[in-house]
Amino acid sequence: MLLAATGHVRAYLGTRKIQGDTLRYDFTHNTALVAGNVQVITANGVFAGTAYVLDLTLNTATLLKLAPIPATFSLRDDDIADAVEEPSAPNTFKVTDLGAELPYIVSTRADIIPNASVRLTPARFPVNAKLTIASPSYMYVFAPNPAFGVTPPTLPAASFDQPYGLIGTTHSLLAAHLRYSTTNGITTSLDEHLVDGTQRYFVASFEPQDRHVDIDGFEQLRAHLTQNFTGSLANDEKTARYVLQHTSKLITTTLTLSQFTTNIVSTSTPNASPTPANINGASYASDDLQINTVTRSLGHIASYKLRTDFGYDNISGQLPYEVDFRTTLGGSLYTPSIHGPLKTNLSGEYDFSSTHYDYPHQYATSTMLFTLARRINRTLSFYGNASFTQLYNRYGTQGFTNAQIINFLGLFPNPTQPVITPDGTPYPGYAAYNGITTQRTYLLTTTIAPSPNFNLLLSLTETCDFPQFHGFGRTPLTTSFDLRIRPMRTIAVEFGRSYIFGWDLQHLTPQYTLGIAP
């Protein structure tokens, strides 16, 4: 990434002022090259030359003079009095030819914060040789830290999000976002990033339209100990979550504390579990202590991972169980990828989890997944998988009076009030089925990628569930394509479309996605 300047360039680099015909500044290496009629004005004096290369990190420079006779000099701290005439190091004046490159931004003034950002005032964005888009000012962030510049987790997902840097230093970035989402329309928001290496970061965002404030802080306390705090404050909802995690060679121990408060009155859903989504105007707390083993191998045969979780949910005002403790045991088994017939790669995994609540409720899942991959050649490849999930979701009523059971109905689906599906048929929901339900999913994907500039992905998904009610539940058939092309070297366009069909009132419903990436 380079900044190139031409035509009577003036550069103020620290306490020095440099003039010349042309300049190149390398953001990554923090070096500058000035060529043609160079004049350097420093606290130690003024000197001139034909080319001047400055390493701003080491504060060393090389000056090439043609008069009185051509010679090169090495300088430290711009001290011409102590300059040493010596050969320049190889590639000292090496530059990249930018002749054929369409610049990303064109401007007349650049204010650079080393290793952080550059503000260009004004800024023009060339679309092609003739068309440019103008902006009074633009800040580009080039800090090599992923915590900068990303759309932070604190801002909700949007169909379009264009950040606009306002203030950037080596440790902070304040940015405005212009966003569009189908639910909120066009909105603006602010976010601030504070970053300290890879040890800690803090991100806060504010959306003025709905006075939504979100924060996310992370810190690595010690080599194997991290903490993370996230919070959200909106008109009707407040959430907070704290995670403390320790990782050893054998196990990962995670303590999670979360709190949710809402004033929103939600409608009835077929969900059985007492999740925040179906709590009306209540507060909800959930704390967990989770212990997982790291993935351990069983020779070359397989690998496994075990987990246990002890926690409770506290729902204010909910009777008779305001506090409901639960215990979860689970594990996963993974096979390695093995060579199968017809040059295929095969693998499988099995996952099991069972949660017992103090409240008479047990929820268990088991999933088997088989995958098959086959690469025909560089252009064509196939991937398919089949997954089988069984859900066991049972509410016990033994030992309770009818009055107590009626009270429980606020916490689990009421079979007398099922969801009414689009075609008017009542649907009790998966979770209301008192037994084991099954979800089967079959996926086949074909990737056609004849070149890095063209990538087409076709997929077909079939689901086969029990119970599966037509008009509600998972879509039996979905087909989609995802096309990624690169019309220019610096722009990739992704266009996707999917169809769901084969169930009752829905026939060939298209959904589009469009993305643009560098």
Binding site: A5, G14, A35, F93, I112, A157, P163, Y334, T371, Y383
Partner: protein, 229 residues
């Protein structure tokens, strides 16, 4: 620091790596022909980016619109050793051309104390786009239905910058056209910042660094994700 006047900010470009250079050979029509990269031209001298200065003749023909870093073809007078003509150079070197790094010493005007180091100074060539293939091995507990993305400093680490192609259940790849000699910082995600890769102990990772060269292939292993333990 502040820089003013016409500025072009060029992304994804840095100093290219040395490219193979032709072996010095005979001159054409008696004059020495040198291909190099322009640093600057004064009323008396032409400077290559090797740091070498050569004398311009009194009637040297210089093409218009030459710019810093431009590949140029320079013809020398075999007797005076002065520059006879300067023009922009495109495409592959002509037969008989030599690289500026191998310009004979008698053509170079420089003080003895400033004579360049050896002959291993190689002139930079025009930026070249090459393809690089990234392959990521993801952890066993990666959700099978999730897609893997590569996130680079080209987009300020947008977590869903480019979706990768699945090779099998735990391997993904993508091939990108990149400018040779540039440096790319990148990391892997599952599409959002809450699912970026982490190191084995759960700490944030410094982005991986790739120096782009022809035929480069990377094989990376993701230790774990931010949302898994």
């Amino acid at each position: 620091m502040t820089v003013s006047h016409t500025l072009l900010l060029v992304l994804a470009l840095a100093t290219p790596q040395p490219s193979p250079i032709p072996t010095p050979s005979s001159s054409v029509s008696g004059s020495l022909i040198v291909r190099g990269q322009l640093l600057t031209i004064t009323s008396t001298y032409l400077l290559f980016t090797t740091g070498d200065a050569v004398h311009l003749g009194s009637d040297t023909r210089i093409a218009a619109m030459l710019h810093l870093g431009q590949p140029i073809r320079v013809r020398f007078d075999p007797i005076s050793h002065h520059v006879h003509s300067v023009e922009a150079a495109f495409g592959k070197p002509m037969p008989g051309e030599i690289d500026a790094a191998q310009l004979p010493r008698e053509y170079i005007t420089v003080d003895a104390a400033s004579l360049r180091l050896g002959a291993h100074n190689v002139t930079a060539q025009q930026a070249r786009v090459v393809t690089v293939t990234f392959t990521a091995h993801v952890p066993d507990d990666t959700p099978a239905t999730d897609d893997i993305y590569i996130s680079t400093d080209r987009s300020n680490f947008s977590p869903a910058e480019l979706k990768m192609n699945r090779i099998d259940v735990r391997r993904w790849n993508i091939t990108l056209p990149l400018v040779e000699g540039t440096t790319l910082h990148y990391q892997y995600t599952r599409g959002n910042y809450a699912t970026v890769e982490r190191d084995a102990s759960g700490g944030t990772v410094t982005p991986r660094i790739l120096d782009v060269h022809e035929g480069e292939r990377t094989e990376d292993t993701v230790a774990r994700w931010a949302d898994t333990s």
